[in-house]
Amino acid sequence: MEKALFIVLAVIAVASALNILLQRNPLYSALSFIGTLAALSALYITLRAHFIAAIQIIVYAGAIMVLFVFVIMLLNAPGDQPRVDKQKGLRYLAIPFAGALIAEAFYVIRSVKPISMPALIDGDRGVGSTWSIGTGLFTQYLLPFEVTSVLILMAIVGAMVLAKREND
């Protein structure tokens, strides 16, 4: 049952991921990517990462992807131009590369010992819960958490500088 759910979600995730590649219009790619994000979010729930699952939807699918879509609309850019691909060879190279990468990954994964998820001990305070995340962020991860503020501030400034018009 769980496995079936996993398979469904995985198929959705992979399919929409592949769709990103297949779509010429970036807008569709972006929408397709939201599908992947959603599927992943659901998978996170199966991993008891409720908080992450939530912000995956809210922040990622919501905020970030909206930004993407917004930019795409703003630029109103044509998709992958119909012109000849200057690097057509890469397409054919991509398949063996992908194959090799996956082969290597599975070689590694094969070695993973089967373990099961630990039993739920403290209910809604368990790993993955908002409480746990909050605690973690303000103890162990205090510094990274604070540093992200620097990161974001910097990103804002950077984006502003780059994107503002010349006459500003």
Binding site: F6, A17, L21, L43, I115, M117, G128, G158, L162
Partner: protein, 100 residues
């Protein structure tokens, strides 16, 4: 019970798709999407480990990664915008003035 390796496998597949996408897509935004996909693949791995090990730090890491992704998105899109202003094109193959 879903084995850990399934999650890892899915993650690897997504990562691969992302990597392939980066090298075959021509639209800068699509390429960027593929990169986001790769980050998500990594996130999946982290969350999977975190969940199976019962260790929080993986998820905290994912939290940080999402912030980074957001920041990256902001800057990346800004760069793309500024390029588009100059070139009216998002095709990265047009960006070949600097080479050899």
């Amino acid at each position: 019970m879903i084995p850990l390796s399934w999650y890892l496998g899915l993650s690897a597949v997504l990562f691969t798709i992302g990597a392939v996408g980066v090298s075959i897509k021509r639209n800068a935004i699509s390429i960027f999407l593929c990169i986001e996909l790769m980050l998500n693949a990594a996130n999946l791995t982290l969350v999977a480990f975190s969940g199976f090990f019962g260790d929080l730090s993986g998820q905290l890491f994912v939290f940080i990664v999402m912030t980074v992704a957001a920041a990256e998105a902001a800057v990346g899109l800004a760069i793309i915008i500024s390029v588009f202003r100059n070139r009216e094109s998002l095709n990265v193959d047009d960006l070949d003035a600097l080479k050899l």
